[in-house]
Symmetry: D2
Subunit: 135 residues, 4 copies
């Protein structure tokens, strides 16, 4: 069944510049990344070696916030402004790269970091692809 994101995009009453199926998939990927980062920050806090993971918690928190905002901006089509969308996507790329890099450093020790790193890489790629499709 189509995700709620896709169903809502299909019900949007006006035209949208981007392909709706593709856009829905990007938003779902970004929302999953926000969720992974929020969960990874908390899992890091629960680890005995939390003192080695403070940078990871920080990049998780940034990435969760940036992804949440990016998904919201991408879900609004009324009064669309390409400059805002593009710069928000670029911030999302930067946050996902930083978080993916940091989580990857702990991926062998902590499964939550491994999953989060993978999700961040996927989200970074999805945002880059959308940026390419916009230009």
């Amino acid at each position: 069944m189509a995700s709620v994101t896709r169903q809502m995009l299909d019900a949007y009453p006006k035209s949208i510049n981007l392909d709706r199926a593709k856009l829905a998939a990007v938003i779902d990927t970004i929302n999953s990344c926000a969720q992974a980062c929020t969960a990874c920050a908390d899992a890091c806090l629960s680890e005995e070696d939390v003192a080695e993971l403070t940078k990871c918690v920080r990049t998780d928190l940034d990435c969760a916030d940036v992804c949440t905002t990016t998904a919201r901006v991408l879900s609004r089509h009324e009064g669309y402004d390409a400059n805002v969308t593009r710069s928000v996507l670029e911030a999302c790329v930067a946050a996902c790269r930083a978080c993916g890099d940091e989580c990857a450093r702990h991926a062998e020790m902590h499964e939550h970091c491994r999953i989060c790193a993978d999700v961040c890489r996927e989200c970074e790629k999805a945002c880059r692809d959308l940026l390419a499709a916009m230009s």
Copy 2:
């Protein structure tokens, strides 16, 4: 395949009071509701009869914010405080009920309101069930 939420909960290193599969499903439902409400607010702004939909936009925005916060609180297990979780879930029930009621009033006119009303009802029920499971 298990959702990212579920994968991250399965990778959480300590014990969690609630059933992980059930908790993951509730978080996914809440995140979908946040997404539906953000999209519905924007779709309402795009309708010609937007003047009839201003209350709907408002309840959508509240519900999106409350759901986003609720999903985050439910995704943190370190230093768990049942009072905070319970009161946040109760706020989510109230926001989903208000938004579901308002969207239902426009469901015949606007497909995005129909979908959003259904998602809000489902989310309200999921939060009520989790509250019941906690006590």
Copy 3:
């Protein structure tokens, strides 16, 4: 000079049930609390005894999210729903109490926890007073 919150409330075009000066003061207090909690979480991550502060980080993050959402809900007057406002304020009271209690435990060791505890207490009181004024 009046805060931006107060200026915007004075420019609101319709009637508001609550006293505008009082409401503006509560919103400003809640926004300050969100800021203090975000900063305290990061300061805790920077401490050498971070392993003793993981619950504090968690309550900070919850409180920041709940306060941000509460300030947003209180800033919306179109289509006002007292049930939503009340339940969100109650969640804010619970989050501020939990965070104030936890920060107070570290107040002698860490100045950021002392400040954050004070701000949480003030925010909890402001939310309780607003709840009393609503009934």
Copy 4:
């Protein structure tokens, strides 16, 4: 008296690359902008000519979300990553410019748009100055 933001920055236990007084002022300006935009979106929804203000609501919502995330990223110093901070600030500049431009179009009709436009201009400038100070 120093703002809570400033007090918390002064209590931060490690070094910070930027001047603390200047950084606190920028964060306070960004938080005020988030508040103005949330309030302006709601005030627009309350206007009789809401159909003329739908783009304004949208840019307000984007700007509120981007500012909230930017203030959070700027409030975290542990594991600082200049690339993330810079790209988030650039997104904030873009969101403030779009919202300031749109609100300015309605400033003569609506006092809330006039105030919000001014606050967005101030916030855009503060973010640009911080970007300049970082390089």
